[in-house]
């Protein structure tokens, strides 16, 4: 069954843990397969942006694109926001100061459903 407009909030795994990154990406691939126009909100508080994290964000955006979805980044530190702009990732991910602001905008545009270990939001 294909869900429409699902909104999922997830925290990125530690950039150094390769196995966790693989598992995370597998979940995102599943989300992309099983939903149409999903909205993935990545919570980034105090997460330092490493090249692995940037790579993972790019892979997420790629997967979401396949099902016409979108990735948003919430709670990024000013330093992280600068890096996202510098690397032009802001052209493929939306950046919000907090999860609630990301959800406020996203939820108005999309519905939501439950998904395994992510936080799930009602429209």
């Amino acid at each position: 069954m294909i869900s429409n407009g699902m909104v999922v909030v997830k925290q990125l795994p530690d950039g150094r843990a390769r196995r966790k990154r693989r598992e995370f990406l597998a979940e995102i691939k599943q989300l992309a397969r099983e939903s149409y126009r999903p909205q993935l909100i990545v919570d980034l508080p105090s997460r330092k942006l490493t090249s692995e994290v940037l790579d993972l964000l790019l892979s997420c955006a790629e997967q979401m694109e396949k099902s016409e979805g979108r990735v948003s980044v919430a709670g990024a530190s000013p330093e992280a926001a600068v890096i996202l702009e510098l690397t032009q990732l802001t052209s493929v991910v939306n950046v919000f100061p907090s999860v609630s602001e990301a959800v406020g905008i996203d939820a108005s545009r999309f519905g939501s459903e439950d998904l395994n270990d992510g936080r799930h939001l009602a429209a």
Binding site: S51, P78, E79, A81, V82, I83, E85, L86, T87, Q88
Partner: protein, 322 residues
Amino acid sequence: MELGALVVTQGSHGTQQIDNSTLPVLGKTVLDRWVERVQGLGINLLSVVDSDLLGSDRLHTMIDWAKKGVDQILLILVGSYSDVDLLDVVRFHHEGQHRITRVFDPLGPLGISLLDRQIILNSNFETHKLGPAGPSTRYDFLGYSVRLSSPSAYRKLVEDALEGRCDVKPNGLEAERNVWIHPAAHVNPSVRLEGSCYVGAYTRLNPGVVLRGRSSVEHNCDIDIGTTLDHASVLPNTYLAPGLCVRNSIIDGTRLENLDRGISVDLGPLGLSGRKKPISIPSSTPSVIRNRSLGETSFCVQVPIVPDAVDRASAQVEANGQ
């Protein structure tokens, strides 16, 4: 009438703070530009010292010069850049027979003073105070000046210089209107230079690079494929990775100062920028005057004026009528 000049840099004050006067602005540091202007007055007795040096040491130098017969000393604290005409300051000082002349702009003192010999000889060595000369005389300057107290001030000076709003001349050749490129720079034909910008010596702009918004790239930088600079300055010996978009920032090696947010970000761990091995660039300012030691023999030097490669190239262009 013999004049001496003591140019005092900002120094680091023992912190990580960057001394903006020693950062190049379109090919030459503000310090170098002050030194050239002092040389332009025909002053050969010139010394450059760091403000980290004790005030008593600086005063000692001036007293030493005064004892040796120097009539007046031009003291420049390099915390700002201004287009002030030093010759006019000297003339004003002479005509008014002032003992101390201090240069002000509407915001306050610019750190430029002209001191008479007698004042220096009467100074109080213990308190590092100049002698009882009565009040100093103000020389009010209403032209261009900027205090180099922040990265934003540095960017303002770069932008104003590129737009011709001040007397700072880029160290390069004007390829088009307000587009300045050093003859030793390597600019790929596919590079887009949109509006006023500067490319320094031995800098490489790779295919697809875009410079806009009065951006500057100082000497010995390498900007990789497809990177865009918009209202940005890249300081010497910096490598920038491909595909970046640098806006309203100053990058020095691995450190990025974002002027919008007022924060500093280390790009090193991400591999987005790096520090290149420095190369020596011919300068019109001999290195000997940068000696920070207090050794008497190395402190005062005669400064020869050596035209650098760009000056020669510029002269050649003018001679060819281009």
